[in-house]
Structure formats: C-alpha cells, structure tokens
Symmetry: C3
Subunit: 504 residues, 3 copies
C-alpha cells in the first residue's frame, strides 16, 4: 500500500471512529424523549424504582414511543389506531401509566386515591376502547370475552366445574364432594376463563413511602380472557396483548395462544406444532417480521401462525387484503369443532349460557347430536365464513388442495360426532340400567368413572381428532389423544356397562 493511500485509510478509520462515537452517544443521549403527561411522570418517579422491569417493558412499547396524534397520521392499512380522533386529554402525550390507569375513574369500583390521583388497578376493554374502539367492540362480540359467564352461568358447565375442582372427603365409608371455593376456581377454570374481580373494601399497607391505602381485590391477579372487571366490562385485552409492552409481535406468535389452548380439551398448540405450518414457524420464524402492519403473506411470513388464520389483517404481495383484521374470531369460523358434546355450527350470540336444548340442558345440541338451530348460524352463513377462511389458504395452496382439505375436515366432524353419538347411547344405557346414576336417578352427570369415560371421549379425544383434521396435526388424530383413545374409551364404556349389568 502506498504511503498516500495509507494516510487516506487512516483518515477514514479515524472518521469512522468519530461516527461510531457519535452514534454511540446518540444511543445513550437519545433524541428528545416523547412527551409524557405530568400524571405519568409522577407515576414513573416511584414506580421506575419499585418495578424497574415493568417500566422498561412499557418503554419498549409503541405506547411509549408514539403519541395518539402520530398514530392517527398513519392512513390506510398501516393504521393501528381505530378511533376517529384523539380524546382531548391524550393530545400531545404518549400513552403512559396514567393514560390507562386513571381512565374512566367513575366507572371503576377499584378506583382509589393514590398520591392525589384517582387510580385503578385493573385496566379493562372499556379503557382500551378510547383509542381502539373497533377492536373493543369486536372483542365484545367474541365468545372469548364471555368466557367467564358462559361457564359460570351455564348450570351444566357449573356442575362440570364442581365435579372437577370440588374437594372430596372420605367419611363414614362414603365419598362426598362439595363445591369448590372461589380461590380454587380462580386457580383452575377461571385462570383462563377469567375471574370476577371485585373490590372487598380498602386496606392499609406498609410501603416504601409509608402506610398507604389500597383497594382489597378478590379474584386478583388474573388475566383470563373473559374476566369480569370492576367497571362491569367483560374480558381482558392483556390476556393476549401482554402487559406492559402490548406488542403485536407477542400476540401474533403462537406462544400467546398456547397459554390457554394446549390442554387435552383444546390441543390447538400441540397440533399446530406438528403441522407443516408449525414446523415452518419453528424452523424459520426468526426470519419473519412480526411487527409490521399490514402483514404481508409471503414477504413478512411464509406460513401461518394462529393469528394469521384467526385474527390478523393479512395482505398479499400486491397489497390486496386476503383477510381483514377481526377481534371477533367467529368471523372466520364456521363449525365449532370444540364439541359440547358434539361439534356444531357456530353460535349466533357470543353469550351462550342462555342456549337450551329440547331436554332442558344448556347445550347447543341435543343428546342425539342434532344442533339446536335457533341458537346457531345457518348453513349459508357457515358457507360464507368458510369462504373467508379459504381466501387465506389460497395464498399458498391450490384450489384443489384447499377444497380437499375442508372436505376432509367436514368428514371428520361427521365421523367424530357419530362416535360421540355411540358413546352417549352407552351412557344413556348405563343410566337406564342403573349401572351409573344419571340426573334422572338423582346422580350427577360428571362424577362416576363411566361418566368420565364419556366426557373424555368427546372433550379430549373427539376434539383432538378434529383439531388435528383442521390443522394437519397427524398423530393428535390417532395415537396422541386421538382415535386410539376414542375407540378405547368406547370399548371401556361397553365393558363397564356389561360388567355393571352382570353385577346387578
């Protein structure tokens, strides 16, 4: 290298070093922070010290970086803010602690005076609706937002909860079961379905700043999707939009859904993991862009996560909308493959606890399997929604593939409903012959071992088979809680029935 060019290189290196230094200092002295409201500033004074990681999470959020006014400037499909305008108190500041936790104070039974601010603990869909009204109103019509009530107010499901979670006592040669208390239910079914969060009064607690007064909450903590909130609203946005980053990336990844949809009753995650889609996500998801809005199939991701098929706004390479964003999952669902005990057309209303069949049971089907049609969508609506779903599939699959897939799914729904019919006949026979004690015999529906075989046959196995059919989950339709276990349950019911009859 000549002396001259060496000098030049040295000069360049020095110049670059200066740039690096200047970039580094830019990182530690960032561009002017986005404007934070005075109230939020007050919160941060203490809470940054008390809960540093909570605050750090928020600092990484869109909420902390973009003011609602800036969010409004986004037009078209890239907009993340569905309110037509920004409410007055949100003008010029980012969405910080106070913007949510002091919102609608009068509606909140959990509002309390905290350092001169009327603060509430539980942020609810009604609070979020200030900026995201469309999402909130769709979510209100989403069966998930009713997850608590649909369980708690359905007498049959309540009996199921009690059979599962109620304590047993062995006394005087008899096994007695009593109803579970609220703390048990909060730790069990309501962990996903949502608790009822209520205020039991105020209490003084010792804090770093001396004694302070706080509301005493029952049913707290809880992030269940159908939580009953102290402002009377239903649901919890943070079930999926994890606090305090509320990142769309988190919600778009399947791990969020897996929190509630992994058990044997709803093995969606397990099925997804062994599907081709799940394989591609696990193998290549780290190369995909989960944060961009709108979300372009084939560019931002190359196989669906749960959100792609069920919720997200998806556009194709030409910018055409393949699917509109919806927080009302049923927009893209035609058959409810979660059997109760049979798979059935999606319900008309998200509030299902009012559904009653001809036998007076709070079920969407008769015990014979026939759907209770007045509460359910009709075939035309089913076909329409199936079309909405197919529009997404077609981005990657040929027509013949898509049609073949859904034809097979429909067949599997039929097949498993038939199996549930057989299991139900065996149960009814057991009740009739006194081998088990059904409601007509003064017994429960879910307590005896033979009844449990019946429940597992549809709640675990028929469901698993249908999820496997819907998402390509192979062994979850056969040996992993699928047809092997379904046929075994039916055979065991028959054996119990035969042995039980003989003993009489």
């Amino acid at each position: 290298m000549s002396r001259g060019s060496r000098t030049r290189v040295i000069a360049i290196v020095w110049g670059l070093s200066m740039m690096v230094i200047s970039l580094a200092s830019a990182q530690t002295n960032p561009t002017p922070s986005p404007p934070v409201s005075e109230a939020t500033e007050t919160c941060l004074t203490c809470h940054t010290v008390l809960h540093p990681a909570l605050v750090a999470d928020w600092e990484g959020s869109h909420h902390a970086k973009v003011t609602p006014e800036q969010a409004l400037e986004q037009v078209g499909l890239s907009r993340r803010f569905s309110a037509p305008a920004v409410s007055e108190d949100l003008q010029g500041v980012v969405v910080g602690c106070a913007e949510c936790h002091t919102r609608n104070p009068d509606d909140h039974a959990d509002t309390f005076l905290h350092n001169d601010y009327w603060v509430h603990t539980v942020v609810t869909p009604n609070d979020c609706a200030v900026c995201h009204p469309q999402e909130a109103s769709e979510f209100e019509e989403n069966i998930m937002s009713r997850a608590h009530d649909n369980l708690a107010r359905n007498p049959l499901y309540r009996e199921l909860m009690e059979a599962i979670a109620g304590p047993h006592e062995w006394k005087g040669g008899e096994l007695k079961q009593t109803a579970p208390d609220a703390a048990t239910l909060a730790d069990a079914c309501y962990s996903c379905h949502g608790t009822e969060v209520a205020v039991e009064g105020l209490e003084f607690r010792e804090t770093d700043l001396g004694e302070m007064e706080f509301p005493r909450l029952v049913g707290w903590p809880n992030q269940g999707v159908g939580r009953i909130n102290p402002d009377g609203s239903q649901g919890s946005c943070s079930a999926c939009h994890t606090r305090h980053k509320f990142s769309v990336e988190t919600a778009r990844k399947p791990h969020t859904c897996s929190q509630c949809h992994k058990g044997p009753d709803v093995p969606a995650t397990k099925v997804y993991q062994v599907s081709k889609h799940g394989n591609l996500y696990a193998s290549h998801g780290d190369e995909w862009d989960f944060d961009v809005v709108p979300w372009t199939v084939g560019r931002d991701f190359s196989a669906p996560t749960c959100a792609v098929c069920h919720i997200s706004l998806v556009v194709d390479g030409e910018g055409e909308v393949a699917a509109s964003r919806t927080h009302r999952m049923s927009d893209r669902l035609f058959t409810r493959i979660f059997g109760l005990p049979y798979a059935h057309p999606q319900p008309l209303s998200p509030e299902t606890h009012g559904i009653v069949n001809s036998a007076g049971l709070a079920l969407p089907t008769e015990l014979s399997g026939e759907p209770v049609s007045q509460f359910l969508i009709d075939p035309a609506e089913q076909e329409k929604r199936k079309g909405t779903m197919k529009r997404i599939c077609i981005s990657c699959h040929s027509n013949a593939w898509v049609e073949g897939h859904f034809r097979r799914l429909d067949h599997t729904v039929e097949e498993t409903n038939q199996a549930t019919r057989t299991a139900t006949l065996l149960l009814e026979e057991a009740w009739k012959t006194g081998v088990a004690q059904g409601p007509a015999q003064g017994g429960g529906v879910f307590d005896e071992p033979l009844e449990r075989l019946w429940v597992e046959s549809w709640l675990f196995y028929a469901n698993s088979i249908r999820f496997a059919a819907a998402m390509g989950g192979a062994d979850y339709g056969v040996f992993a809680g699928g047809r092997w276990q379904l046929s075994r349950s039916v055979r065991e019911m028959e054996k119990e029935l035969r042995l039980g009859s003989r003993e009489k």
Copy 2:
C-alpha cells in the same frame, strides 16, 4: 474537533450515505433475475397473483436461484445435485413450476391439459430423480417410502387400523365396529404414512379465468412419506423437503421430523427435546448454520439434530467425512427399537408387508420374541451399522462414553423385550382362559380393553423407554410414558385376568 477534521467527517458521512443509497437501490433493483423457462414464465403470470406466498416461497429457494448447470459446477462434498449431467430441457434455466409439474407427463395419471401445457398436480420422487437420482434411489430403499404399503398390505396392521379408526355403533345392546372409510384413514394413519392418490376423472371448476377442467383427485391433499403417487411411484419428498422452498435448512431442523415422530408410539421428538442434544439445539441452534453443504460438526453446529445422526453428510473440522449422506435411514440403524411387538434387527428389505412369522402373523418376531431371522439383518451387519453411527458420536464424545452408551441401549432393548414377553404371556393366558377373545376364539387382536393394555405396553411404553435410552431422554423412560406406565399395564393386565377368571 478541528474545522478541518469536521469537514472530513462530513465528507465521509456523505460518502457513506451515497454508498448506502447505492446498496439500497441494488436491493430493490436486483442483479438480473436468473433465467426462467418460457413455460414457468407462463405459470407465474397467473399463479403469482393467485398464490403469492407459494411463489414467494419458491423465489427464496435454491431452485429459483441456481440453474442445474451451476449446481453441477459444485464439485466434491459441496455438491447438492447428484445427476451426472443436466437433462436437455433444464439447460440454461432455473427449476421453476414447469420443470417439475410438467415432468414425465406420460407417466402421470394426473396429467391434464392446462393452458396448453400438460401439467400434473402431484410431484413425485420420480420427478425429483431427474436432478437427484441418488437421493431418490436411496429413498426407494428407505422403509419410510413404503410407509403406506407396509401398513395397508399387512393384514395384522390393517386389523389394527380398523380397530383404531373404524366407527362403532351401539345397536340392539351390542357394540359393532365396521371398517373405516378412505377419508377417515386419510385423516388418520395415512396422514403420515401417505395416502393412495388416484384420479377419479375430470371435472370442470369455476376459476378467475373462467371455467377450466381439472383432474378429480382422491387421497389429496397429502404429504405422507409413503404416499402412492399417480405415476406409480412411492413416497413424497416434500414430506421433509417442504414445498415450495425445499430448503435443506428446514429438513435439518428437528421440527420437520417432529411432524410424524412425536406421538406416544414414536416419541422421538419429545425425547430429543429433553436430551442434552435437544437442549443445545433449543438454546443455541439460532447461532448454527443449517444451510451450508457439507455440514461441519463443531463449526456449523455443536450438537446433533435428527438429520445429523440419521441422514446428513457430516464432515469434521479437518474436512474428513464423519458420515456420508444417505436417504436410506437404515444405513445407520442396527436394531429397530420400534417394537412390533418386540424390538428386532432391522429388516433386510424396506418392503416389510411380506414378512411372516412361524405362526403365520405378518410380524418380524415370533410372539415369543424371537426374531424371524430370514427377513432381518444379521449380527455382523448390525455391528457394522452400529459402527457407522458411533463414528458420528465420537466427534464429541470419548470412546468410553460411546461404548457405555450403546451397551446400556442394548441392555434396555433386552429389558423391554422381556417385559413385552411377560405382557404377551398374559394376553395369551387371557385368550386361552376365555377372559378375552383372541383370533383362535373368533375375536380380534386389538379390540378389547385387555388387548389394548397389551398394545400400549409395547407400542407406547416399551417404545418410549427405548427411544429414551437411545437419545438420553430421561423421564420418557420412567414417568412420561415409560417404566411407570409399562409396569402399570402389566399389573393391570394381571388384574383383569384374575378378575375375569373369577367371573367365569
């Protein structure tokens, strides 16, 4: 900073900006696209619009970027193309839609005239063999390519499939089971094993371009590894080399194998996940290079995925071959730890449905456990293949470690076969005493609860224990479908036998 140096920095920044702009524009106006055949160009005209993500996937593939001629230029271990020369019609173009979907048109019963091209839907190993003949011919000798026939043509396994997937009816106080239909089997066992894809005729379908004629396929869609194809070939390369990127990275990651090898019968994935190897993949796999050929242990990856031990070409840091690439998995397998019902030496032929034991059952072992040797590899061949596998282990483990590991595995094979022997004796006793109805009593082998306990004892639990021993899967050999469940099954069989005998 002096004025002079500031000027210089500004100049450098400006210079860099220009470079960034030029790099960015290079990204949006890429180097001339690789040459695409006229036929593929025609396909892309419509299908890019219809299935944008399908096309995007292909655009990201080696197929879309490298012409066969360029692939041929790679010499030695880095070559990915096993044909000695490029067929004429592939010269000068990359491998696009038409190169595969119009290949061997006369062989394909699913060929149809589509916009003046003779196109077929199902691309098969015979189509892939044009460029990858060695892989195709190895795969033909791989038991996986026979997964459909080895199941469908074995009368005993067919009986098992029917017992699992056949619908039950409760009628006149009796439980009757009939054979499952093709759609059920396609959704169940054949989902992994492969369907038989056949053409049932042609049909007109409404498309965006007006009415068009397409073949009506049965058994479609399906990517099962042993699929029977409309050109008479067996197998599906896309089972592992996921369409339409066909990425070696995908196939090398364990999520691909997990699609079929996760259930209780073959819990390979679950065992791998809790093994030290699986831990390292999950913890550090994102730093490894899954795309490079050849694949260097210690540099490109530091713990094996499934592919490392079972398929891939692996070289060590000195460029020495630790393992040759093979699509005939049995090259590195000595004992078949998947018991039927006993673990046994690997079969000689990939076509196992012709194997018959001395009792006339289509099984590789007697019911006593003795291998049916004329169909199985001999001890010398077993030792040789074990040596091939050990050569891979030794890259990271000492000799004492490797020898100790395989000695323990052999012991566990022996131990679990002994357990299967006990379970089988209990089953035979039940059949003999009439507690259950075996074939000699006019009954089935797999339908009654006691028989199911027997099947689970080897198909689920003995298998799980052996997989755990083979790959270091700890609890899958004990509480997670292992020795706890195996001993429980044996005890329950004994209880059923005792109670059943008493009732007589």
Copy 3:
C-alpha cells in the same frame, strides 16, 4: 454527482474495502491465542483430531478465552470466579483439558496414566471448586446434589424404584417382580438423579495410537445432578453447565432445566411453557442477553426463565441486587410443592434419606399429612424465603399482584394436600379391608393398580396442580394432568374399593 465527489466516493469505497480485508484477515489470523498449558497442548494434539467438535465447543468457552487471573480482575457483581486467588498451576494459562482432567489426581479412583499424565475421566464438583468454591459449597447444600443418595438410601423410594423398573415374570399362573439391575436403574431413575460411577479395574483398548490402558467405569456415562463420583464427591456440575462450553447462557435458558423437570411428576417446563413468562421467553428470548454478568431485569431480559427466580444473580436497572446468586435452590423456596406425598415445608438438610415419620416411614410428613417438623424449616424461615422470592417478582409486578399470587398458591397447596388426605384414606381403607395388600398385609406399597391410582393422585396430579399454581400454568391445573385427573383418580379408587369389597 460531480466528478470530484465521485472520486471521493471511490476513494472511500476503496478505503473501506481495505478495512474489510484487514478485518477479514484479522478473523482468519486471530490475535495471539490465549496461553494454553503444556499439558493441555499435549491433550489437544490428539483429541482435536479425535473429537473435533468437543474441542471446538471448549474453544468457544470462557474457559478457553480467559485465564483465571483475568477472571480475578473482574470486580464486584460482574465477577464469575469465586476463589479469592488463583492456584499456582493455573497462573498464566487458560482452563483447558488438563486443568480439569488432571486435577486432584490422588482423590480420583478413576485416575490412570495416559501418555505420561495422570488423567481422570470424571470431572467433579471438587475439581470445579478450585475456581468456583462458593458455587461448589452452595451446591453441596443443594438437595439436587444429593439426588442419588436421597433416592437410593430411602427404603420407601427404593421400593418405589423397584416397583417401577423391576422386571416382571409370568410363571405358573403368577406375576413375580424382581429388583432392577444397575444398568436398568442407570437408564431409568438415575439418569436424572445420577449414577454411582465406580472403577471396576483397568482394561486395554485398541486406539488410533495402538493399544492403551483405561479404567473400566460402571455407571458411565452419566450427567445426573446427584451423581456419586470416583473422588467421593456428590453431584455433577455438567448436568446444567453443559460440557465442554460450560456456558452460563445454556444454564440460564429453560431447556437445561427441562431435561429433568418435564415429566408428569415435575411438570415445571410444561407449566412454564404455557405461562405468561414462558410465552415471553419463547416470543422474545432471542432478543435477550443471556451471557452478561450481572443480569439486569428489564434490560437483559423481560420475563424470567427458571434461573432468574431460582438461581441467578439478578440486578435491577439501578444496579440494585434483586436476588443474590445461589446454587442452593432452597434459598428461595419455602414450601416443597413436590409432594411426598404431601407438599411440606422445605427440609432443613439436603440429605433427606434420614427423615422418618412417626410410622417409621422415610417421609417428611405423616400419612395424615402433618409435617414431621423436626426435619423441616419453621414458619419464620418459610416466610423469610418467600420474601426472597417476592423481591424478584416485584421487579415487574405490583405488590397486590404478588401478594394475591402467593396467597392463591398457599391455598392450592392446602387444597391439594386435602385431596391427598382423601386418597390416602381410601388407600388405607383398601388395605384394611383386604381389597389391596399393604405392608401390614405383607404386600408392597406401590405394586397393585389401586396403589398406583393413589401414587398418581399425588405424584402426578397434585404436583401438577401446584406447579401450575406456582407458575401460572393454567391447564396443567385442570385438564392436563390436573384437577380433572385428580378427581378421577379419587373416584376410581372409591370404585375399586367398592367393587373389591363386594367381591369378598
């Protein structure tokens, strides 16, 4: 662009190219390698060729890059080296093969003469203690380091192991079970708990360098956390600090813990995966820094992995210690939620095999559930440890959240212990009435199906429910091995008892 500026850009590009070249050459001709001892140099001569990936792993480790003296220079919380000074033979060299494998040669029964060096195969906590004495001594008081002995020396647990892993024989119409041999136990329980590694003598083996003499080890290979080592020490650091990189990153990720803590008896990993914490790790963990010491909550990670709550030194954004590093896990644990058969206060000593209840059983509780307090920590100590744990939670959660969480966990401990009480009463009734044969009737505790129902009720289901309560694991407290299965077990025990009594 003017000609002048174009010239300048070209000059800059050329200058940058030179830098790139110089950087690239820096990569291939790295800065002088860290100093390696002569002994290690000798090892590397052969072993780099024999086990290239093993050596590559070590080359990527801190051990290979940092000399103990450099490690000592780190002061305060960033220090990874707990010895006050460097032992003489480690001065000036990095920690290579010889530094560990020739350490304390006289203590090691597995020491052998290998190319003029006294080498041992099994590196033990005593060897690691030279540089990491604090970690080693904490680990010695960690119940995990006693995992072998606490199992092997407890007569009741030994009976359980035998009931699980002992071979059954069906002979003369009777099912006989014998004790499992050492190889079976090494592949089963001791796979995680640790084997007893012993030297059985020396043997000659053929190697690439001719015939050489090696010790013949039994119980090898094994990385179980409570391994009994040939130098008399207990435990295996490489159970978590995977050889030969010994990376803190690996140990901090949950996949390491999942190797042993995934089964139905300790479903910690499964519960974590569906918890909000596990969701965040799976969704965002790839953006976190797992290598830095100390580890800052909110900056380096935003949700806990296992290590955060149970082991690691955690500081907050202000550099305040939220949790001190400890290799004695019980420092942060108050109740042992792993029931034996009841959840109970943590034991005082890590050596639990000496614990005996008033019935003479080696259990930390009476069969009635009452803790055997003289062996367990008292309520004040429980409260103190709970406080240590809460200090971590508070980094992200409000006080009300944390208090509510632990109140609910305590309630679930109480609830599940009550269920275990009921199951135990049913078992005792079965023993009393002769429906099953307990110890008083000359039978075993764990062999009969009814006894197995009892074990599963606490070992699988009550444990799963408590893990779900502790870590927010939703369905693992309900349908996935939770309350559904617990109540089913109790009901089935009652049915067995009823049917068994009737038969008498």
